[in-house]
């Protein structure tokens, strides 16, 4: 356990020194402010672009619009940014050979993987919490949120999907050991999910549902219980990929 905490501290200092903490804080704050802002400014922007005299009856923005922006911006921009930031977790160490010294001193190989994943998990928690809190504060100030259902559960869906992608990135990055392989594997996986989404049967189990349905959860069109299977599958896949990474890394030649 001591080693685990020691290596975790090393990971933490590394992430601060490589400006990861700084970037995550700034970018996810920007995203948090951007959501209610886009929702609020949209009618005014549309007004500007309409020709003179044309009447466009736009409804006033509501709390739902703000959260729609959240579920559009954070999975697209936020997740891409996040995967890019953490895509070189393993390959950097493998390329430089910095792990060899630590491993010969008796550090467990599984410790390396679990610590790295846990570090990324902490950062993703921070990022989502930050973005969610800022959007929540602005939305609560400008609009009435009482009509929305399961705000926190909807956000947790996004959170779990992010963790799944992180686990896959870590696996790809360790298995192929080049800086872009993590991103490539994650991209292929996401494309695969999108292809599967063409078939309506996949809607009952596909992890992709976790990022596409939150708006409907908010309006109450989809019940929480319908997302139970995608939720469990995502968590299961996440654990599987972390386990695959550990078992592969144990046999890897450094």
């Amino acid at each position: 356990m001591n080693r685990w905490i020691g290596f975790f501290k090393k990971e933490w200092f590394e992430s601060v020194k490589t400006y990861k903490l700084f970037l995550v804080l700034i970018i996810f704050s920007i995203l948090g402010v951007l959501n209610p802002f886009t929702a609020k400014i949209m009618p005014a922007v549309m007004d500007q672009f309409m020709p003179e005299g044309a009447l466009l009856d736009l409804p006033e923005p509501t709390a739902l619009d703000s959260w729609l922006q959240f579920y559009k911006n954070v999975p697209q921009m936020g997740l891409i940014v996040f995967i890019l930031l953490f895509s070189t977790m393993m390959s950097k160490e493998l390329e430089k050979g910095t792990l060899v010294i630590l491993l010969t001193k008796g550090l467990h190989r599984s410790t390396v993987i679990t610590t790295k994943f846990f570090m990324a998990l902490c950062y993703w928690t921070l990022a989502i919490t930050l973005s969610f809190t800022i959007t929540y504060a602005y939305t609560a100030y400008y609009w009435d949120q009482s009509t929305l259902h399961h705000l926190f559960f909807a956000a947790s869906c996004l959170y779990v999907f992010g963790l799944l992608l992180l686990a896959i990135t870590l696996w790809g990055n360790t298995y192929f050991a080049t800086s872009y392989s993590g991103i490539l594997v994650t991209l292929l996986f996401t494309i695969g999910l999108f292809i599967a989404a063409i078939f309506p049967q996949s809607h009952s189990w596909s992890p992709l549902e976790l990022v596409t349905t939150p708006p409907q959860i908010l309006t109450g069109e989809i019940q929480v219980s319908e997302l139970l299977i995608p939720y469990i599958i995502s968590i299961g896949l996440m654990i599987l990929f972390v386990w695959l990474t550990t078992s592969h890394f144990k046999k890897k030649l450094l």
Binding site: T18, Y19, F22, L23, I26, I27, S29, I30, V33, L34, P36, F37, K40, I41, A44, V81, L84, L85, S87, T88, Y138, S179
Partner: protein, 75 residues
């Protein structure tokens, strides 16, 4: 003109943090680019342009992929 000012005032609670964060990130990255003139690829002018004109993806790409190692700091 009057209506534009009203609009601006209405969106000020959004604009102030947005501008502060984005400009702050841009300037911080630009200073880093100038003070550490060793990059994995590209040169100073290219990185300055990327960092200052591509909103938040620019600084991110610089810090993750472009920033050189052992760039003159003593540690």
């Amino acid at each position: 003109m009057n209506t534009n000012w009203d609009l601006l005032l209405e969106y000020l609670p959004f604009l102030i943090p947005l501008i502060l964060l984005q400009v702050g990130l841009g300037i911080f990255s630009a200073i880093h680019v100038i003070r550490h003139p060793h990059y994995r690829f590209g040169n100073q002018v290219i990185w300055l342009l990327i960092v200052l004109f591509i909103q938040f993806i620019g600084p991110l790409v610089y810090f993750v992929f472009g920033r050189g190692d052992g760039d003159g700091r003593t540690n």
